[in-house]
Amino acid sequence: MYKYASPKNFYALAGRLVPWLGTITLLLFVFGLYLGLYVAPPDYQQGDSYRIMFIHVPAAWMSMFVYVLMAGAGLVGLVWNIKLADMLATASAPIGASLTLMALVTGSLWGKPTWGTYWVWDARLTSELFLFFLYLGFIALQAAIDDPRRSARAGAVLALVGVVDIPIIHFSVIWWNTLHQPASIGSLGKIIAPTIYPTMLHPLLIMSLAFFLFFFTVVLIRMRGEILARERHTGWVMQIVRSDANAPEARP
């Protein structure tokens, strides 16, 4: 296991894993969508609009998970100076940001039929929006620093400070109610969770797993790019580049 902590070996391992992970992800997506869109019956209150859940909830969960992962990887990189952890954090950020955006947009699209409006300034929605900004800040900070090591470490500190937003997102539903009068819609979870049927639960779980594996597939591809960029002075990368340059389609 320890062997794969070197960028070189990880590069090869990731290259071999990606096709497998990708295939499984695709199958899970197909199966989850089949269950969620076709098999599951309409909800007795919300009709078919609840089917947005099967992408909204996994995306929202992943948006939080990826940030925590990023902060954790940042911490590991900061403390033990492990390059792969830095690269994991850097590679996760755009994916996390896009999933956060997905949670925001699908949530809005779900909000219109259920709440009658695309957006309310409810604490959860707001804190999720600010999670999106935290991602953007991370990406912008890393882009603004040219030295890769400094950029990785600065990003790590930022991610660690920003991670306080995650519990705020999760518990916002409770906190908001204690201080303000309840927003027009209370706890999001209560709408589905108590009444959830297995026909709805199963596709949700499968889609969540699909999103999870999707993240890992993409992050591995991104990390491969990151490894090449940061290890470009090492012999093995130069060898890859040279053999690539000699390939027939490359320009002379």
């Binding site: 009709g47 999933l99 947009v105 090449l228 340059a245």
Partner: protein, 65 residues
């Protein structure tokens, strides 16, 4: 269930399909940009390798803070 009722989504077609459509776009963007980034790095490295074949600078570099 016919295809028609399936696509109608009980009257919520606009919301459901735009949500799924947006999700698809995001997922595809993720794959495309990840692959593109790797290719771009490769291309840059190739050009760097080409550039480094030119005679090297012995010259001094300035310290920029």
């Amino acid at each position: 269930m016919t295809w028609h009722t399936f696509f109608a989504m009980g009257g919520y077609a606009d919301y459901v399909w735009s949500a799924y459509g947006f999700a698809t776009v995001v997922l595809l963007w993720n794959i495309a940009s990840a692959v593109h980034r790797r290719r771009a790095v490769m291309k840059m490295l190739r050009e760097l390798a080409l550039a480094e074949q030119t005679p090297k600078e012995s010259a001094a570099q300035h310290y920029v803070h």
